[in-house]
């Protein structure tokens, strides 16, 4: 097996394009574990560690946010001064695994792996994020919602890599909350809910919701959001929205819980996430 440590994105792209069995290596938390278990046997590893352009969190002039692919979960968790709903991404990063994993894992590696049990995917969908990609044919941006294609499958094409995740400006008066339910602290979510909400005079003016671990990709249902919009997020509103979301879910049975149990969690966790997000606005 070969090991490369390029210092530019172009170099990395050409290494990946030249060998279809090459894999890029970010934090290695997942990839190396899979190699140890004989689940993947790459012919070459292209380490992204020395590519400065892939690091850093930066706000743009319009109020958007750009998070480089090699930014660790810890850096996102500790990022200071994120506005309104953008703080949801930090809250989500704090919910990933435990400190050792947050120090190793990166946002590019997390979404590049395409695991629907991971925490970032739902949060990125709820935040209307885009994924910036670069490949042999140049750069492109894919909405988070379209980036996740199936279980462990993403929109990444051969030779492509993730360079960054971008968030649009936070909706006016918007706040987010991430509700993760796991067997023990640090486990993957049994079910998670990411919500971004803006309240006005006690009514919901803006709402985005996405569920994690409820299907092969993050689950979003515009009808559920429409059902919540304009309401005070009362119990019956949450219940009705949860019913719509459940129809969009296709959860598996595994050691973290049965699919049926995951469905049972949707309504209470949705209520908690929405109310926590709304309460942050109220506290202002």
């Amino acid at each position: 097996m070969e090991f490369h440590g390029p210092s530019t994105v172009d170099e990395a792209v050409s290494l990946l394009a030249a060998d279809e069995d090459a894999r890029c290596l970010a934090g290695g938390a997942t990839l190396v574990a899979m190699m140890n278990a004989d689940l993947v046997m790459p012919s070459a590893l292209v380490s992204l560690r020395h590519i400065a352009a892939l690091g850093g969190i930066a706000a743009d002039a319009g109020g958007g946010l750009r998070i480089g692919a090699m930014t660790t979960h810890r850096e996102v968790a500790d990022a200071a001064g994120l506005d309104g709903a953008h703080a949801l991404i930090s809250e989500t990063a704090r919910a990933i695994g435990h400190p050792a994993i947050r120090n190793m894992g990166t946002i590019g590696g997390s979404i590049g792996h395409g695991d629907p049990q991971a925490d970032y995917p739902a949060a990125l969908v709820a935040l209307d994020a885009s994924v910036e990609l670069r490949g042999p044919d140049g750069a492109r941006a894919v909405p988070a919602q379209d980036f996740f294609v199936d279980y462990l499958e993403t929109a990444l094409q051969p030779g492509e890599l993730i360079t960054a995740v971008t968030l649009p400006p936070s909706p006016a008066g918007g706040f987010g909350a991430y509700e993760k339910f796991a067997r023990v602290e640090g486990d993957y979510a049994t079910v998670s809910v990411a919500a971004a909400v803006a309240m006005e005079a006690g009514r919901c003016r803006y709402v985005r919701v996405a569920l994690g671990s409820c299907g092969p990709i993050p689950v979003r249902a515009e009808d559920a959001e429409a059902r919540l919009a304009g309401t005070a997020l009362a119990d019956e509103d949450v219940a009705a929205a949860a019913a719509v979301l459940r129809d969009a879910c296709d959860p598996v049975d595994d050691v973290r819980g049965s699919g049926e149990y995951r469905m049972m969690l949707v309504e209470p966790l949705l209520g908690r996430a929405l109310r926590a997000a709304a309460a942050k606005g109220g506290a202002r």
């Binding site: 278990a37 067997r183 486990d187 050691v255 819980g257």
Partner: protein, 768 residues
């Protein structure tokens, strides 16, 4: 010289702590020998199959491969602590997925793993059974066709795949039911729990030119290693030297064979040192687990709360090999009455073979499987009779001077005090009155009592006084990380009147250590501790004998004085130190002082007149210990999650030799008990273990443990224990699940009878 403080009762840091914290401690896998090879074990891919052929040629042809061994090479030498039914590498048949079938040694791990993949073994699959119902069905395949001819160390009936039927009967339950005002009955199910020791199993074996094999390995008894390796390879014990470096936890999982026979077989085949260390996944799939249990129980009490009768049927899933199953089933039978005076009992316990990983010893040893039934039924009876659960227990608990079932006398029994201490500390009376209403998060508090033993089988000790008057202690007892080296040194130092740092402790080594049955059954402090006190007393007697010559007086006139001196009674200035005495013994007369002791547990016998006992696989057993544990919980009615808020745990331990170590044992047991109660469960998908990793099998982490655990030590010295001490290792794990089930019933009115009490099971139960 009155500034000497006896080391007994001092919470000193453990002797090896600094090495462990700084990473210097040497575990088996840290070791290396010149020219060493790495061994890898090939697991069975089938749950039940006949082996029809081996082709190891491709593996042997691989560059860097030194040897491959299979069951054919090591031969049909059967091992097993209760039933000799297992070979170190499968012979003829495999009986669970993950069973070792071959082993390969190569120059490095990568080559060995690659070679393992090239070993081609052909199988003919057989029908398999994955639970005890299927295994006991009329048409179930026999897992062990030759069972009747196996060597067994106990006598019991057996039935199909039920390898033993253990019965205890006293009084007349059928007649007693009629006198009961409250009767509860229920079925309970418990899961396989993984020992999840931090250090996966590891062994390094090296052979010398006389064919003697030295094995360094992670284990709970260096003498068991010697015995099962000798049996499995057909070697005399004198050809095996077994040594134990630091051990990173065991909890019962390393009591019997792990990878030592394979390492020794590879060393013998190659003539070179070979180290075998399992990956976490292989350790999960290959070694052993706690027995899944199915328990049916019925308990009855008179209107005044007097418990009158209990009937119990226990079925334990033993997996493919007997291992410690008959022992675990026997202890489950012995403990399932609970620590109460119940005059009419009828108990039957059956360990049953299935095509899964073998079950074996695990902290609690049959206690946890029956405690969830027994201790929740006590609460249900209290509920029916409108009594407080602690009042009901206090009315029925065994008292000092009474007998256990089958007539084993209890000299001390501090359970009433444990109950009173917990009741006061947790604010029981007020908390039980508070009723949770509304929905959302509900609080409740529950309690459980635990009986256990700490006296069984044999131990020894050697105390040698070195030339300068300091000492070295050798017991052969393996410290699994629970702190026994420290505690035994404290006992030895106190018995000699020395400081802790004047006593060295020897590494367990079958060439030099006295026999110790094992670090198991909560017995090392009690059993090895007794041997240490007696060996130290023997050394003191020899010191007095030498001192009498030196001081020209009678031995009877001499006394041991603190600080390592022998003096003449009543004459404070007439004394000599150990250094002078030991110099005299080494160089002038008397010879080096070597104090020794060996003992077998010598408690009271069973009383055959008291009841009917059949198939029980232990002889004398005793030095009873008791505990009471309470847990306060919050139940999230929307998700079903149980959050433990605080635990109170009171233990009848005789005397705390090292209070800090005792509290560490209690806290560790409680955390493992929380895992058993709430989240730990090995899950099989037919024969395949579905969660053989720490990613999928979850133990509680620091954030899952309540911020406060209140431990209480009830110290009423045992007349035979070293400085009055008894054991503590196992009880702390046992009461947590029933206490939580009782707390959930208090909070929500819902009764949980299946472990672990996962949020999913709780939510389903809450919704009826």
């Amino acid at each position: 010289m009155n500034d000497y403080v006896s080391p007994v009762g001092q919470g000193i840091p453990r002797l090896e702590t600094r090495d462990k914290i700084t990473g210097r401690a040497v575990y088996a896998d840290d070791m290396s020998r010149p020219d060493m090879l790495v061994g890898v074990i090939v697991p069975s891919p089938h749950a039940h199959a006949r082996i029809t052929g081996y082709d190891v040629s491709a593996a042997l042809a691989l560059d860097g491969v030194a040897a491959v061994v299979t069951g054919v090479d090591i031969g049909d030498h059967k091992i097993g602590p209760f039933v000799k039914d297992e070979t170190a590498l499968a012979v003829g048949k495999v009986r669970y997925m993950g069973e070792p079938v071959a082993a390969v040694a190569a120059v490095d791990l990568e080559t060995a793993r690659q070679a393992a993949r090239l070993i081609d073994i052909s199988y003919e699959e057989l029908p398999a059974v994955f639970d005890t119902d299927a295994a006991t069905a009329a048409d179930a395949p026999a897992l062990h066709e030759g069972f009747a001819d196996y060597i067994k160390v106990f006598e019991a009936d057996s039935d199909r795949n039920a390898m033993a039927i253990i019965e205890i009967v006293e009084g007349d339950v059928d007649a007693a039911w009629e006198r009961c005002a409250a009767i509860v009955e229920g079925s309970y199910e418990t899961q396989a729990q993984c020992h999840t020791y931090m250090e996966p199993c590891s062994a390094l074996a090296e052979i010398d030119s006389n064919g003697k094999i030295t094995i360094w390995s992670s284990n709970q008894s260096v003498f068991h290693v010697q015995s099962f390796v000798a049996d499995s390879l057909g070697l005399p014990m004198s050809k095996l030297r077994c040594v134990t470096p630091q051990v990173g936890g065991a909890f019962g999982g390393k009591m019997e064979q792990t990878v030592q026979p394979a390492a020794a077989a590879l060393a013998r085949a190659t003539g070179r040192p070979v180290k075998v260390t399992l990956s976490r996944e292989q350790d999960f799939e290959m070694i052993r687990s706690r027995h899944p249990g199915k328990v049916w129980m019925k308990t009855g009490a008179a209107a005044d709360g007097t418990l009158l009768a209990r009937e119990v049927r226990i079925v334990l899933d033993a997996g493919a090999y007997a291992d410690d199953s008959p022992g675990v089933a026997g202890i489950a039978a012995l403990f399932c009455r609970g620590p109460y005076r119940i005059e009419n009992v009828s108990i039957e316990s059956r360990p049953v073979y299935t095509n899964k990983l073998r079950s074996g010893a695990f902290r609690g040893f049959g206690g946890p499987q029956v405690a969830i039934a027994g201790e929740t039924q006590i609460d249900e009876i209290a509920d029916r009779l409108g009594m407080d659960p602690i009042d009901l227990r206090l009315k029925n608990v065994v008292l000092p001077g009474e007998e256990w079932m089958i007539g084993v006398a209890l000299n001390k029994a501090g359970l009433s005090e444990c109950l009173e201490r917990v009741r006061a500390a947790c604010g029981w009376d007020a908390k039980r009155k508070a009723v949770s209403n509304g929905s959302g998060r509900k609080r409740g508090i529950g309690l459980a009592c635990i009986p256990h033993i700490s006296g069984v089988l044999t131990s020894g000790a050697i105390v040698r006084i070195l030339e300068d008057g300091t000492a070295v202690l050798n017991t052969g007892a393996v410290d699994n990380g629970q702190g026994s080296d420290t505690v035994l040194v404290q006992i030895c130092a106190a018995a000699l009147g020395l400081e802790v740092d004047q006593v060295s402790v020897a590494t367990p080594d079958t060439d030099g250590s006295p026999y110790n049955w094992g670090t198991t059954a909560s017995r090392v402090t009690y059993m090895a501790g007794r041997a240490v006190v007696a060996a130290a007393e023997d050394a003191v007697a020899q010191l007095k004998q030498r001192a009498a010559v030196m001081m020209e007086c009678a031995e009877e006139d001499l006394e041991l004085r603190d600080g390592g001196r022998i003096g003449i009674k009543g004459v404070p200035e007439a004394e000599i130190g150990f250094r002078d005495i030991s110099g005299f013994s080494h160089w002038v007369a008397g010879g080096p002082v070597i104090g020794t002791n060996s003992l077998a547990y010598d408690g009271p016998d069973f009383d055959p007149k008291r009841g009917y006992l059949k198939g029980f696989p232990f002889g004398k057993i005793g030095a009873w210990i008791f505990a009471a544990q309470a847990v306060e919980v919050e139940v999230d009615e929307a998700t079903g999650r149980i959050v433990p808020l605080k635990v109170w745990s009171a233990h009848d331990i005789g005397k705390a030799i090292n209070p800090t170590a005792v509290e560490g044992q209690i806290q560790g047991g409680i955390v493992q008990g929380l895992g058993y109660a709430l989240c730990e469960e090995m899950v099989w998908d037919s024969g395949r273990l579905a969660n053989p990793s720490l990613m999928d099998y979850k133990i509680p982490g620091i954030m899952d443990v309540p911020p406060e655990i209140d431990t209480m030590l009830v110290e009423d010295p045992d007349e035979h224990g070293p400085f009055g001490a008894k054991g503590v290792g196992e009880p702390p794990i046992v009461g947590i699940a029933p206490a939580i089930s009782n707390a959930v019933a208090h909070a929500t009115g819902t009764r949980l009878r299946r472990l672990p009490m996962t949020p999913e099971r709780v939510l389903r139960a809450l919704r009826g």
